[in-house]
Structure formats: structure tokens, C-alpha cells
């Protein structure tokens, strides 16, 4: 810990390499190993033939005869492709709708400053703190009453409850950084608020939109408790719920197929994330830093 501090002030050269190795590189290596090991284990298991999986001989960290059998089973003998499609469908629509609603709300709160905007902004932040696990029971009752139970719309309509507060809060922060003078000039030139939002604010807030979009997409992709509660037929399930509820059959666990399913369901978010790391991190930290 101490040496980490040393380095921030640019005096790292005073440390010897050995000291740095022990206090910096070794702990870092352990962290990275532990944080990444489950992914490695997931991957290696997904490619192992059953015989290797269930044998205690040999080196379990490597696969001798890799096979695609588990992926084949997953894609052709289960509803996995449907779950994947459902997850994409629900996540894309919920994200898009939430971002549109959030842009309007954030602009209204931050720039129109209607009376009560402060209070509305605060309640948006409080809404962000309401966890899904205290909402799912009454929401299930509402979803049922609206006749949406067991449909994708149940998820598309409920996901915004955690997406909108987050995205609005994040976008409010972005809008705040746009100089007010730009808007004033446009107002004097006779632009309407709608034109200002579309032609001045939005183009300048593109990084914020990407952050909010990426974040909202991963949140909806990863959502579990609503999807578990509001949907019961296999053909409307999302990947996380489908893998957990349908790939586990009886007492015999098909570890290979389970891991293949987990890997396949994690890859899309991991890939999108790796393309937009900076946006994702700024979304994550921006929401916390306020």
C-alpha cells in the first residue's frame, strides 16, 4: 500500500525493483489471477469432454481433447438461441426507451429548471437506490393485472425502473458540463427548446449518451430477479434465467453445457464492454461521483 502511494508522486524510482515486486506486482498478480480464474475455468470446462470432466487423474487445468459437443448441445438441443434472442430484444428496447426518457427528463431537470426541478432530481436519485428485490413482489402483481405476465413486455416495461434513474442521473451530470451560454445564444437566435436539445445539447453529450447506453444495456442483459419472476415459459426466458432454471436437470449436472451457456451469455457484454471501457468506467464513476 505504501509503495502505491510513493508512485503517485513520481518518486517510484527510489524503490528497488525487488521491493516493488513484493509490494506492488505480486499483490496485483494475485488480484488479477483470482478475478480472472473463474472465467478461465468456465472456458476450459466448456471445451472439456465429459470423460475428462469427471476424471480426477491428469491435469485439470488443461484440456487434452477439446470438444465442441457442449456448444452443439446448447445450440441445437436446448432453447438457448431463443433465450439469446429474447435477451437481445428486451435489452435493446428497454435501453433505447430508457435513454430517450432519461434525456428528456435530465434536460428538463438540469436546463429547463421548471419549478420543483431540484426535488424531482433528488427523487430520481432516491429511485436509483430502490433495489429490485423489494419491488419484485408488488411488480409481479401489477404485471399480472396488466395481462403482461409471461411476455417480453413485462420485462421491457419494468427494466426502465432501474435504467431511467441511473441514466437520468448520469446525463444530468453531462448536461451540467455544457456551457449555458451556447443555449442562450440559440434562444436569442429564436431556436426552440426542442431544437436546442436536438442540435446543441445532444451532439455535445454524445459521450454521456454512449456511457449511459452501454451501462443500461449491460444492466438489462444481466437482470435476473424480474426475469425469473415475471416469465415462466421457456420461449420467453432470458439467458441468465434460462441457464439457471433449465440447464440444471435433476441430479446430474451437465457441467460442460452449463459452462458453455454461462460463457456464451457473458461474451456479448464482455465484448461490448471491451470496446467501450472508457465510456463504461466514466459511467460507473460518474454516477458515484455525482
Amino acid at each position: 500500500m505504501k509503495d502505491g502511494d510513493n508512485d503517485t508522486q513520481g518518486m517510484g524510482y527510489l524503490d528497488t525493483l525487488t521491493r516493488r515486486s513484493i509490494t506492488l506486482y505480486l499483490p496485483l498478480a494475485i488480484f488479477v489471477f483470482v478475478l480472472l480464474f473463474p472465467f478461465y475455468w468456465m472456458t476450459i470446462t466448456a471445451f472439456k469432454p465429459d470423460a475428462e470432466l469427471l476424471s480426477r487423474e491428469g491435469n485439470p487445468f488443461w484440456v487434452v481433447a477439446p470438444t465442441l459437443a457442449h456448444f452443439k448441445k446448447l445450440l441445437f438441443q436446448t432453447s438457448y438461441p431463443e433465450w439469446l434472442w429474447n435477451t437481445v430484444f428486451v435489452s435493446v428496447i428497454a435501453t433505447f426507451a430508457s435513454i430517450v426518457a432519461s434525456v428528456l427528463a435530465a434536460y428538463a431537470i438540469e436546463r429547463l429548471r421548471f419549478s420543483g426541478a431540484r426535488q424531482v432530481g433528488l427523487s430520481i436519485f432516491l429511485a436509483y437506490l430502490v433495489p429490485p428485490s423489494i419491488l419484485f413482489i408488488p411488480l409481479a402483481a401489477i404485471v399480472f393485472q396488466l395481462g403482461l405476465f409471461d411476455t417480453r413486455w413485462a420485462l421491457i416495461l419494468t427494466y426502465p425502473t432501474f435504467l431511467i434513474p441511473f441514466s437520468t442521473w448520469l446525463l444530468m451530470g453531462y448536461f451540467r458540463t455544457i456551457p449555458y451560454e451556447l443555449e442562450e445564444c440559440a434562444l436569442i437566435d429564436g431556436a426552440t427548446r426542442w431544437q436546442i436539445l436536438r442540435k446543441i445539447v445532444l451532439p455535445l453529450a454524445v459521450p454521456g449518451l454512449i456511457s449511459a447506453g452501454i451501462f443500461a444495456f449491460t444492466l438489462s442483459w444481466n437482470e435476473f430477479i424480474y426475469a425469473l419472476t415475471f416469465v415462466s415459459s421457456s420461449e420467453v426466458k432470458t439467458v441468465p434465467v434460462g441457464v439457471v432454471t433449465e440447464l440444471v436437470e435433476g441430479d446430474v449436472y451437465h457441467w460442460g453445457a452449463l459452462m458453455a451457456g454461462a460463457l456464451f451469455g457473458s461474451l456479448p457484454v464482455a465484448v461490448i464492454y471491451s470496446f467501450f471501457v472508457e465510456y463504461y468506467v466514466s459511467g460507473l464513476t460518474g454516477a458515484v461521483k455525482e
Binding site: M1, G4, D5, D7, T8, Q9, G10, M11, G12, L28, F31, V32, V34, L35, L36, P38, F39, R56, P60, V100, A101, A105, A108, I109, L112, F114, V120, I124, A127, P132, S133, I134, L135, I137, L139, A140, A141, L157, T158, T161, P165, T192, R193, W194, T218, N222, F224, P240, Y253, W255, A262, G265, S266, A270, Y273, V277, Y280, V281, L284, K289
Partner: protein, 326 residues
Amino acid sequence: MRPGSAPTATLTPTLSQGEREEYRHMLLQRLQNSRNALGLLFMLPAGVLLLLFLTYPLGLGTWLGFTDTKIGRGGQWIGLENYAFLWNDSVTRLSLFNTLFYTAVASVIKFALGLWLAVLLNARIPFKTFFRTVILLPYIVPTALSAIAFWWIYDSQFSIISWVLMRLGFIDKYIDFLGDPWNARFSTIAANVWRGVPFVAITLLAGLQTISPSLYEAAAIDGASGWQRFRHITLPLLTPIIAVVMTFSVLFTFTDFQLIYVLTRGGPLNATHLMATLSFQRAIGGGALGEGAAIAIAMVPFLLAAILFSYFGLQRRAWQQGGSDA
């Protein structure tokens, strides 16, 4: 004259076509520039969705907690009966203990490891961006899916941890990670920490990067040791962000559901049942919506306490550091 619907109605008959157009245009323009009308319009989509699917369910949940509603049958108001029953229910009490234990232990470990990792990442190291990218991976993949990987890692017969420990000669039989109450508690906590550390580390790293290096230089010139610099510069300046990050962390650990649902479903002997998983089991599994809602609502005071604690802690800090009232 004020623009409104009433004058329009009375005036329209006397106006010519062109005047009417002009009047409508003026009204539209007034509307477009009136902050309140436009604000309301802009707030509408978000407001309707949040009121219908967040505020209303919150109220409905509170109400359900006072009724004996079952799935498929409307309930009667029974006052505090659900809460009285739950208070004497040993499983609920155990789940409350589990939730507090899970939250306390996991949060403390997440904070310590997260801060350590943040400090490590803040150092001058090669491939910094790469490290930051891979470290967040546990946080961004679906928890339900990474929990399945942990389930396999914790398997009683094929656990890789047991295999390694056995080879190294530390144990002579495989560890039953999820079959023994205390093992299961610590195994689920470990999985939760694994998932939560990246979030704490990356957000604290963002906080660390805002601390000016000149402060450290000044302290170093004054002869402060590494620990003193950490204790008297890093920690105080980081406190506000620590408070926010840990509030989020505590909130989401306290209401955790997926990890337990996938790994143990609350077992063995309800040893890992959290309030969220118990409310799911009672409400959706057992059909007792009222009772499940009561358990869920019982979490609210704890969450409020955590939020208020951090909010007031934060304000005091800001004031001490000469900030205006936050």
C-alpha cells in the same frame, strides 16, 4: 391576456382564419418557452414509467405486507399479523442474522481489498489500461452466470480448490463448500466479494486520481512516511467517495438475491437464506404474496439507516473540510 384554453374558446368565433392561425402559433411558442409546461412535457415519459412501475409498487408492496394475499386470491387487511408471525418465525430470524452477517463481512472485505487494489492500480505500472479493463470483468458479466461458474468451482466432488489443496497436502478429503452451514456462508461471501471488489476498486481509483500529487510531495518533504501519507492525505480526501461507494455496496449486498439463488437456494438448513431469497421463496414459491412482501418491506428500515448514516457522515466531512453545506 393569459394564454389558456378558456380565451381560445370564447374568442375563436370572432377571429378570421389567419388570425386564428397566428394565435395558435403564438400559443405554441408560449408553450415551447414556458419552463413549467415544457418541463412537465419532457418529464412525462420518465415520470409515468417511474410512477407506475416504481412508486406505485412500493406503495402496493407496503399494503400487501399488511394483508394475507395469496397468489390468485385477493387478500384481507390483517394489520401487523404478518410481521408478528415473522418476528416469531425462526427461519426469518435466521435470515435476518444471515443478511446482516453477509452484508457486514462482505462489505468490510470488499472495502479493504477494493481500496488496496485501487492504490495498486494508481501506481505507475505498465499496461495500466489493460489491468483496469480486465479487473472490471467480474462486475460486468451477468452475476447469475458467474455464480454458476462458482457453483462448479465449489462442487463437492470436483472442486478445483479441493483438488489443488489435496495435491499440496493441506487437506485429506474434499471440502464440502456448499453443504455445511458455515462453509456455505463463507463460500457465498467469497463469491460476493469477488463480484464486488472491482466496483469498489475502480470507483475509488477514480477518487484517488483526483488527489493532487503535490500534496504527497509536500508531505514527503516534511518527512512523512508512506503510511502517514496514506493515513493523513489519501484517506481523508477519499472519505466522501468512500461513503458513497460503500453505501451502494452495502445496499446491493443487503438486498442480494441472484448469487444465493444460484449457489444454494438458501440452504443448507436455511444457513444462507437472505431476506431477499426468503421473500422470493415465500411469495413466489409458496404463493404467500402478503408474507413475502412483508419480508421485503422489512428490509427498508435497514436500507434507510445505511443511506442516512452515509448522508450525514458525508455532510459532516464536507463541513469539516470547509465546504458549504453539501
